[in-house]
Amino acid sequence: MAQRAVWLISHEPGTPLCGTVRFSRRYPTVEKRARVFNGESYVPVPEDGPLLKALLFELRLLDDDKDFAESRDSCSHINKTSIYGLLVGGKELWPVVAFLKNGMIYACVPLVEQTLSPRPPLISISGISQGFELLFGIQDFLYLGQKNDTELYTKLSQLPDLLLQACPFGTLLDANLQNSLDSNNFASVTHPQKQPAWKAGIYKGKPQVSISITEKVKSMQYGKQDIADTWQVVGAVTCKCDLEGSMPNVTISLSLPTNGSPLQDILVHPCVTSLDSAILTSSSIDAMDDSAFSGPYKFPLTPPLESFNLCYYTSQVPVPPILGFYQVKEEEIQLKITVNLKLHESVKNSFEFCEAHIPFYNRGPITHVEYKVSFGQLEVFREKSLLIWIIGQKFPKSMEISLSGTVTFGAKSHEKQPFDQICIGGTAYLKLHFRILDYTLTGCYADQHSVQVFASGKPKISTYRKLISSDYYIWNSKAPAPVTYGSLVL
């Protein structure tokens, strides 16, 4: 279950090495066990330099992938997980857990407590999930609430000390590094017997509970007979419970209005102490029926100190909030476009913002646009080959708006205009960006009465809701578009 080494590497394309090791930590006692367990098949953890090179090569992050290199590009060299074998000094170091996120490569080498030849199945290696958890924990620590590079470097400089707490010998004690940071600050507080390890100390102050529900809606709309449109709501409930006592008990309930859409695929935070089986089994992979559990969804829990994601869910609402139609016709050197958008009557018509982004990929810069909008304004970004239709805070009374126009393009020059591997030929999309405050598409809400707190003092309870768009695509109905299996009308 232990890790032999951990690295953070920033990916820097265009530089000679294409990356820099920002942080590394080795665990020699684990390495010693690896040598014994792996026997003949043991491959030592390399120094940072060779590792950087091997990892970037394997992840195809070096700038030299112009030519076909069999050891990397062969059709049989297939990776289906984020776990790699790295060629270092003629031998293969395996398993290396690694992934790239926000320009940073997170990597570690879990201990395998047996010989590596033949390779044991990944599922049987406990260090794999522990390694992922550690890397996810580091990633969360670095990027949650991080605003700029200076802050990132401050956090990077804190990592050695934090890992000394959270993973002193390579065996992960706590993936929540913020918790390790806080425990330094709470060091002087006396700890009662049943202090959870994931709670660094005890809150002192005014009791308050805040619950915020954020729903993201994504959609793929094709405007075609033979392909079904798809849409899905993904919700996240974030809580912060400032309550006194070492183990305050709280029950938070999420409710739906009578016509609300049932919550499905619910994943809860580990601090939730028990779970109703109806919550556990309501899942989007089964066919929907009327008997679906529609709440209230009760989550008894012992909250940690910091803000946490109480649960995530998905939901299948009956209609998409905005129904769109997009058509692009190629006429000699120009494109003729038509867009219709309709807000569903059940949706709250009060946006923080609402925009439609209409990009044109794999073409030259826009040289000329003629258009007509029934509502809002159009902004033209010539060099980026992009149109942005700013719809604003409200749809008109009719709930329907339209845009039509012709766009002319200049000669294609590869450096500036965006390349896209999907939008080939006539394939094109527009993407909606919007946000509605104090609203959820499912109707899901948590009110003051839905929170029970078994602790001293009556806490102030505040709740927030919002709906935002995410991956809301409307495809050109006149050309092929990428489909998922679910959208094929069978």
Partner: protein, 877 residues
């Protein structure tokens, strides 16, 4: 050297970290470990700098203190530093404990004879149980973190030396109910318990009340190493591989605790599980892996203990927790998970593998877990990825690939789709099957369309070919899939010939199901479109892979047309590669014409030479031999480029290879007869050798040149008659024969090897005189004896031999040369030394302790050789 400043240390540490190996061979390498230990006590350095020094020692103890004595000394020094800290709060206590532990465990110094171990272990245990160690160990506020750290140190030591804490189980268990950090104690107890169970099971012993023993360790009493030594210091996997554990290697199955012990054990496990929700998810997962496999093999320990935890765990999205549940599933199967539970677990995994709130690496790992799911009743062979029985294609809908996915996700999901297609084919539920197959086809078409993009990134092409390969591997038996795939790939080639290296790679890796039709289609595609532009290079590369004896005329006319456009060296070589492929495929007539044209027409002399060579080979070698000459070399390592590899094979077949000889030569018994000395050579071979030619070279030209010896065939283990090697000495002197072998291996390569030199001894040159008639022997010898002088020389030697040993010596070594014998005491010996010398020996009047040897020769130069020879003989007898 005095203490370094903070800046100096910072720089030194940075240089070290950049490349520890380079630093250690540098001038400062040797002193680093010593300086670090001494500067930890320096008052000039800040605590922060000291912590960074300790961090270095936590990561690189093997470099700083490379052997066990050095590690022991370092740990002692670190402990001394710890004791010397002033009683005020300090950030150094924790890292010092960690560093001393690391030094001992990583340096291999941990053991009963190590003084540092004898100090560290009681100290850690004292801290772990919350014993008051005095003000020297810091203020009260520091005690709790130190207590946790001490537990972690003990856990690490127990991991490295299982059984170390076997004697403290009762003590640790007692602590669980009291005040103290719950997580470190739980994990420590769980690990110690598990290791104790394994060691006791291996020794077929009971727990002997270890779980209920009270505080057996009082201050000052020696550490109990019994169990660690019983464990024989074998590391115990904390979470054994499932397959290994299934074979009983975790060794727990034989432990049958007494009812009382079983009750205690159950109580301990239940206690650990009950408080497990107080642990962080990562620690909970470790606890479950440890306890799961600890309880698994014990009779009378039903796994229901784990049941209350499961619902809570299944609800979370934590990778470690779901993984630990899967480990429990693998450990207990139906005993813990009914069919309904299994179905629920599969559903949770399925939704976790696609849940939008989880990151991609987690999705991919869950998908892997689904396809390797430890089923209660698996149908297929273990170890192969398969769709679990309870997971029908209906439930997998959301897991199917789409073009919008990231490449890894697309491949993982594509694999699932292929497995579903196979399954449906087997079930013959055609309706579903067709829609899945159609979807698969559309997906592949989309991938090909993206790969065909001009100027698109190579990653798109790689993905397309990986997907095609995956589909062929899973669905090789389904022509319904392969036919459109072949067609689609051919079209892709038409659109983007620059992908030729990918096609060559694909053809190298797929079986004949796709390989054969694709070859044919691609050949047709290439030869039907004569090119003269950029694509020609790719066409030629493609054709070198797919050309064979079919469609010869089309191929040849394509090549003829292409030749006119092959103006640079690279293109000409590519063209010749195709010719070579055709040669290998046994294409005859038309090719000869083409080669002749090329030999005249090509601009580049290298190209012309090659063409001519191929023509000569084609005209002079029979088919099989040609194949051998052009075939890839077995010895040549696989190189990245197939062009280079082919060329190597070709060169290897035509060139003589230097090789270690599979031949051993030795000199057999002497044959003292005939007009010249003849060596009898014994030959042994380790592998079949054909057309062996042995060439000899006499050092310093002491003999006339020796002719080569030819052997048609030699096989290992088959007796061979000795090879006779006549020598014509120019002087009667020993010599060394330098031997080289030239032979053909069974794979058709011609090899050349240098064999160890053969020594020709002085005695190997001895020849007898013709035997005189019976009565004239004495006279004959005397005549020879007299004839040596005055030109020759005479000498006397003493051989320290008794009469019987003299007889043995003569009969063994000199028998053929004896002219007159009065055994056992007196012999007259005459030896002919070619080219024209003689050596006469008189061994007469043997005494009890030796025999005087009188010798005469007409060649004074041989005297030292004779002396050495005789001394050697008498020493040997």
């Amino acid at each position: 050297m005095g203490p370094l400043s903070r800046e100096n240390w910072a720089q030194r540490v940075a240089t070290f970290r950049a490349s520890p190996s380079a630093f250690m061979v540098g001038p400062e390498g040797e002193d680093l470990g010593r300086d670090l230990l001494s500067d930890l006590r320096s008052e000039k350095l800040s605590e922060q700098t000291k912590v960074s020094l300790l961090s270095l020692s936590l990561e690189y103890p093997a470099q700083l203190w490379p052997d066990a004595p050095a590690a022991e000394a370092a740990a002692t020094s670190l402990l001394d530093t710890l004791v010397l800290l002033p009683p005020r709060p300090s950030a150094l206590r924790r890292p010092l404990l960690l560093a001393a532990t690391t030094a001992l465990a990583a340096g291999g110094a941990l053991g009963p004879t190590s003084g540092a171990s004898r100090r560290l272990l009681p100290l850690l245990l004292g801290l772990a149980v919350g014993r008051d160690l005095g003000r020297g160990f810091g203020p009260a506020s520091e005690q709790r973190p130190l207590q946790a750290t001490a537990c972690e140190c003990l856990r690490e030591l127990e991991s490295c030396k299982p059984g170390l804490l076997g004697g403290c189980l009762g003590l640790l268990r007692g602590l669980m109910g009291q005040e103290g950090p719950i997580q470190p104690l739980s994990l420590l107890l769980a690990l110690a318990l598990r290791n104790t169970l394994v060691i006791k099971a291996k020794a077929r012993a009971g727990l002997q009340g270890l779980l209920v023993a009270g505080n057996s360790l009082t201050e000052g009493s020696p550490w109990n190493w019994t169990l660690a030594e019983e464990g024989d210091a074998h590391l115990q996997p904390q979470a054994p591989s499932w397959s290994a554990a299934e074979e009983g290697e975790c060794g727990l199955a034989v432990l049958e605790p007494s009812p009382e012990e079983a009750r205690e054990l159950r109580a301990a496990v239940a206690q650990l599980l009950d408080t497990s929700y107080l642990l962080t998810p990562a620690a909970q997962a470790q606890l479950l892996w440890l306890l799961g496999w600890a309880v698994r093999g014990l009779r009378g320990q039903p796994p229901v203990l784990f049941k209350p935890q499961l619902v809570r765990l299944l609800g979370t999205a934590q990778l470690t927790l779901l993984h630990a549940v899967l480990a429990l599933k693998a450990a207990f199967g139906e005993a813990l998970f009914t069919a309904q539970d299994e179905a629920l677990l599969l559903r949770r995994l399925t939704l976790a593998a696609q849940h939008p709130a989880l990151p991609l690496p987690a999705h991919l790992f869950y998908l892997h877990c689904l396809l390797s799911f430890p089923e209660n009743w698996p149908l297929g062979p273990t170890g192969e990825e398969a769709v679990p029985l309870l997971l029908g294609s209906q439930l997998c809908r959301g897991l199917l690939p789409s073009l919008l996915h990231d490449p890894m996700a697309l491949l993982a999901r594509l694999h699932l789709l292929c497995l579903l297609c196979v399954e449906d084919e087997e079930k013959e539920e055609k309706g579903q099957d067709q829609s899945l197959r159609c979807y698969l086809e559309e997906l592949l078409a989309g991938l090909r369309q993206r790969a065909a993009l001009n100027g698109g990134p190579r990653a798109l092409a790689i993905l397309c070919f990986q997907a095609s390969y995956l589909v062929v591997r899973c669905l090789a038996g389904q022509p319904m899939v392969l036919t459109p795939l072949t067609h689609g790939l051919t079209q892709l080639y038409r659109a983007q010939p620059a992908l030729a290296p990918h096609f060559v790679d694909l053809l190298d890796r797929v079986g004949p199901e796709l390989g054969e039709p694709l070859r044919v289609a691609l050949r047709q595609e290439v030869v039907s479109r004569p090119g003269k532009d950029e694509a020609l290079r790719w066409h030629l590369q493609m054709l070198a892979k797919v050309a064979n004896e079919d469609a010869q005329s089309a191929t040849l006319s394509f090549l003829q047309a292409a030749a006119a456009h092959c103006l640079d060296w690279g293109l000409q070589q590519a063209l010749l590669q195709v010719c070579q492929a055709l040669l290998r495929a046994g294409v005859g007539g038309g090719l000869a014409d083409l080669l002749q044209v090329l030999a005249r027409q090509l601009e580049d002399p290298d190209g012309r030479d090659h063409a001519r060579l191929y023509y000569i080979l084609l005209a002079h070698l029979s088919g099989p031999k040609l194949g051998m000459a052009l075939g890839p070399s077995l010895a040549a390592p696989a190189l990245a480029s197939s062009l280079v590899a082919e060329n190597q094979g070709f060169a290897a077949a035509l060139m003589v290879q230097e090789a270690p000889a599979p031949i051993r030569l030795s000199i057999g018994p002497r044959r003292a007869e005939g007009p010249v000395p003849v060596l009898q050579l014994q030959v042994e071979v380790l592998e079949p050798v054909y057309s062996l030619e042995l060439r000899f070279h006499v050092e310093r030209q002491l003999y006339a040149p020796v002719g080569a010896v030819h052997v048609p065939c030699l096989c290992p283990g088959r007796p061979t008659s000795p090879l006779l090697l006549p020598l014509q000495p120019r002087r009667p002197a020993p010599a060394r024969l330098d031997v080289r072998a030239l032979y053909t291996t069974p794979t058709g390569l011609t090899c050349h090897a240098h064999l160890p030199p053969l020594p020709v001894n002085f005695a190997d040159l001895f020849l007898p005189f013709p035997q005189p008639p019976e009565g004239a022997k004495v006279g004959f010898f005397e005549e020879l004896w007299d004839s040596c002088l005055p030109e020759g020389t005479e000498s006397q030697l003493w051989c320290p031999l008794g009469p019987h040993r003299l007889e043995a010596l003569v009969s063994c070594h000199l028998e053929p040369f004896v002219v007159v014998a009065q055994a056992p005491t007196s012999y007259c010996i005459a030896i002919r030394l070619p080219p024209d010398s003689r050596l006469l020996l008189r061994l007469e009047a043997a005494h009890a302790d030796g025999v005087p040897v009188a010798l005469r020769t007409d060649d004074w130069a041989v005297l030292p050789l004779v002396g050495a020879y005789l001394r050697g003989l008498s020493a040997a007898v």
